[in-house]
């Protein structure tokens, strides 16, 4: 039986007809279905640009455990009370309305690559033509570590707010903060060093406001770095640690965490135990279990290998991985996640249209770039930037010669530029 819309309207009453048409429309939407898992910088940009460039040829569904996303970018300034977390939190709904895609609040529990579907924790199943995984990271479990009491503040949200509260309410004059830095590669290479600077700035401010160092002595921030050296902007952060916080920051290299005492805020490490009034533990990261269980991460590895021309998994066709969970050597950052999502959206559009994704004109012009600002105190920032190009011989994204640059020190102008950069990055991603 065929029912034309015109006949339906003629033969049924108004409201009922409209509701029926709505149902029929969704049933007959046989456009290529792209399911995007994760609504952070990577996933939101992917959905946004696939809609913008896709000429309405795609049905897009964005799945995320939350109806909103809190940005890690700028979230260290939540700790210093300079930005409210709510200003960094973006609902998926307005973006989806503007760009005509569907959203679904839920957790994906299993990827059925053979059947081209995902299972959700509520038992429902959603089929896809193309699957894009933009899940971000999973933090490793550590013996004794309870993230509900010991904040990581490395996936923005409640944990950021918990660390802010502990700093503001539980750090006394001359107090002691202990923080840990995960093994590379981790999310946001300069981030932990920026965090160390701002913890020190807070500890000093709190001490000054509560009678000065005469009360309990000078405050201290002990930084336990799992790496052998500073991982980004080494000159800047070496100078900042010495010149701005020489009396506060105690930076220690190559320290591995073995156990956390969450009751007593103590980190047990390869070089002894460290207790703080506030303990900020940032565990090592890897691609989330959903990717590992689906066979997207080789045994013994931590990240999902992809072809950077498309971001299609190197292991399972039809599944794309963008953002922090993928294994290319590009830095794990929000700006890069946005950059990769655009390359991936373009590749999906080409592939669906039957056009070559590896055409020489395309791969010879494949670039991504990174730019970021790091505040080192309440009103000055440093910056870091780089461009990555596809190398057709190595088949890798590689640093473009001479494009890597960092500020000489820090200044107020860069601090102001940081807000402009973040505003544009957020606008190009979440609205």
């Amino acid at each position: 039986m065929t029912i034309s819309r015109r006949n339906l309207i003629r033969t049924t009453s108004g409201v009922a007809a409209l509701s029926l048409i709505g149902k029929l429309s969704s049933q007959i939407d046989d456009r290529h279905h792209v399911v995007v898992v994760g609504g952070g910088f990577a996933g939101s940009t992917l959905a946004r640009y696939l809609s913008l460039w896709g000429e309405q040829k795609f049905r897009i569904t964005l799945i995320d455990p939350s109806s909103e996303h809190s940005s890690c970018v700028m979230s260290n300034l939540v700790l210093t009370n300079q930005i409210a977390l709510s200003k960094l939190t973006f609902s998926h709904t307005p973006l989806a309305d503007r760009f005509n895609f569907a959203t679904r609040v839920g957790s994906v529990s299993e990827i059925k690559a053979g059947a081209k579907s995902v299972l959700l924790a509520d038992g429902s199943e959603l089929s896809y033509d193309t699957l894009v995984l933009a899940t971000g990271i999973e933090l490793d479990a550590i013996d004794g570590y309870d993230p509900a009491r010991i904040p990581h503040a490395w996936i923005a949200g409640d944990s950021t707010e918990l660390l802010r509260q502990q700093l503001n309410e539980e750090l006394p004059a001359g107090g002691h903060v202990v923080m840990t830095i995960p093994e590379a590669p981790y999310r946001c290479p300069p981030g932990p060093y920026e965090r160390a600077c701002l913890l020190a700035a807070m500890a000093r401010q709190i001490t000054d406001a509560n009678g000065g160092s005469g009360v309990n002595g000078s405050p201290t921030v002990t930084v336990l770095d799992a790496n052998e050296d500073i991982q980004a902007e080494k000159a800047t952060f070496t100078a900042a640690f010495e010149e701005l916080y020489g009396d506060i920051i105690d930076y220690r290299r190559g320290v591995k965490i073995t156990r956390i005492d969450s009751d007593n805020r103590t980190a047990y490490t390869t070089v002894g135990a460290f207790s703080g009034d506030v303990l900020n533990v940032i565990p090592n990261h890897q691609a989330p279990a959903i990717l590992r269980n689906a066979g997207l991460v080789p045994t013994g590895d931590r990240w999902a290998p992809v072809d950077p021309v498309t971001y299609e998994s190197a292991l399972i066709g039809g599944i794309y991985v963008i953002g922090d969970a993928q294994a290319t050597s590009q830095p794990k950052s929000a700006h890069m996640a946005n950059a990769q999502a655009k390359v991936c959206a373009d590749a999906i559009i080409r592939k669906t249209a039957g056009l070559a994704t590896h055409a020489s004109e395309r791969i010879n012009n494949l670039t991504t770039n990174s730019a970021c600002f790091s505040p080192v105190n309440f009103n000055e920032a440093a910056w870091l930037t780089a461009v990555f190009r596809y190398n057709t011989a190595s088949r890798l994204m590689e640093l473009a010669p001479n494009s890597l640059g960092a500020s000489e020190g820090w200044d107020r102008e860069s601090y102001d530029d940081m807000y402009t950069w973040a505003s544009n990055l957020f606008s190009d991603t979440f609205v």
Binding site: R98, A339, N369, A371, T385, V387, S423, V431
Partner: protein
């Protein structure tokens, strides 16, 4: 149809002339989606399709010659101390031309545009020395909460304008050649 034939003939003539004077054929490449993808890598900082928020250059509607000239200036900066001095070094001249061509094809005035996030407005930002941030002006200009269903039209790269764009490109090429000549003379 007649117009298309004429365009094809014109293109052939261009190819012959430009090849003869040493302009790489790459600069005549026609896949506009590659221009678009290259250009989209600017928009993390310069806004979607080059319509920026706050105190940073909007790129949409700039002339191709102007964008390329600025990028080349940054590439040749002897003491690169700006983020863009380093960014510019990441692109070949051919890529810069394509990025410039894309932004030059967009209207300078975006018309009705998407809402955006302006973090610079009304946030607590350390100890500010200068109270005049221009935030109020920005609010007035952009009406952050405005929602319009049609704004995506402004963002779309319109391939129907190719004829028009060919002409613009031709003019740009001429402009650029003139500039190069001038540069040569200066050298």
């Amino acid at each position: 149809m007649v117009k298309r034939q004429r365009n094809n003939q014109r293109l052939c003539v261009q190819v012959v002339i430009l090849t003869a004077i040493g302009v790489p054929l790459d600069s005549l490449a026609q896949d506009a989606t590659i221009d678009r993808l290259l250009a989209s890598q600017c928009s993390q900082c310069h806004g979607t399709n080059g319509y920026a928020v706050g105190d940073i250059d909007s790129l949409a509607g700039e002339s191709a010659g102007e964008i390329r000239e600025e990028m080349l200036e940054m590439q040749f900066e002897r003491d690169p101390d700006d983020m863009m001095d380093h960014q510019a070094l990441g692109y070949t001249d051919s890529q810069i031309r394509r990025i410039a061509r894309y932004y030059a094809s967009l209207p300078e005035d975006p018309g009705t545009r998407a809402p955006f996030i302006d973090l610079t407005a009304g946030s607590s930002r350390g100890d500010r020395d200068d109270e005049d941030t221009g935030d109020e002006d920005r609010d007035d200009d952009h009406e952050a909460d405005e929602k319009d269903e049609d704004y995506r039209e402004d963002y779309r790269y319109d391939s129907d304008d190719e004829d028009e764009q060919d002409e613009e490109d031709e003019e740009d090429e001429e402009d650029e050649e003139d500039e190069e000549d001038e540069e040569d003379e200066e050298d």
